[in-house]
Subunit: 219 residues, 2 copies
Amino acid sequence: MERIFDIELKELKDKLVHMSRIAEKMIEISLCGLVERNKELASQVFEYEQEVNRLHIEIDELCIKLLALRQPIAADLRFITAAMKINSELERIGDQSVNISENTAIYLDHPPLKPLIDLPRMANITKEMVIDSLISFVNEDVGLAHAILRRDDEVDNLRNQIFRELLTYMLSDATAIQRALCLILISRNIERIADHATNICEDVVFMTLGKDIRHHMGK
Amino acid sequence: MERIFDIELKELKDKLVHMSRIAEKMIEISLCGLVERNKELASQVFEYEQEVNRLHIEIDELCIKLLALRQPIAADLRFITAAMKINSELERIGDQSVNISENTAIYLDHPPLKPLIDLPRMANITKEMVIDSLISFVNEDVGLAHAILRRDDEVDNLRNQIFRELLTYMLSDATAIQRALCLILISRNIERIADHATNICEDVVFMTLGKDIRHHMGK
């Protein structure tokens, strides 16, 4: 027979998955606004932010309630503390998507800077990392979590490449400066989202194995 | 008679205060490296980072141990979950200080861009916010926490002002572009540190009053 506590833990997991779907949507829409030069999409991102913020508080309350009422130990305790941390990461992914939309709004005040370089590619990889990090959480899949952690280098390389290319534009054409600057800031927002996805993966490894791999100290 | 648990909670508090001292030192030294054009200081920041990372893991372990062994409820439970969150914020403040040092290293490869504008002022306010946020935690001082939250606007205003000034430099002098870009990125690093300080304050309010003021929903 299933414990009531198991049903509650399932509820917690479902809420986090729901929140992650919204966060993923926010990444997608904020980038879509940039690629399609559509300012209207920003308002959708702000609406989703409200929902993410509401879930952030709700999930935190649920975690504290479960800690108080069920007095969990071992794997259950690690699950709930991981959930609290993943909750924070998802909320910050939402924040960064809002930042992307804000930087996009400034960018769209000017004529387009010809190519968006590798920004959409960087964003796609990052979105996949967020999606997969939640899959690794749901399935307690440590192998997947490690695979995602390795993909962070790819994002960092793209960030550096994008930076170099945009700097070259700026140096050769003063009218490109402001727009290139917006794109550099957007690339930093995307980079931070990837960082949050890697944080989630580290939480998943700790939750599953009880081993702390942060700062490479548990390796 | 003092409970063993109270001694353990005191130990947790002391560790966080110790960690915050190191994080404050990292902010100070990373900025000092920029102002005094001293690359050597960056290596000190990297050394402190090791210590912050070690404490990050140690404090998290202590929190999980206390949750498992003492099965806390109410104020004690809120204290421990707040401690876990503040622990993460301090670790990220350390990360941002490392980023400041990395951006400074690139900046120092070039001759100085005359004034550092309001960057040192912005960094000082931010460091004060971090220091005060830990005081508000130690003393459970909700009034102080709210005062710090209000100072975040000042930091955001400085960030905007610094951005406008540096953009003007870039537009008027192409040789200033790369250096101004470094300073813009540093101002964003400082801004993020201030954000972490405000997150700590929100954790303090929740811990003390059991009221969630994040996203202004508990207001």
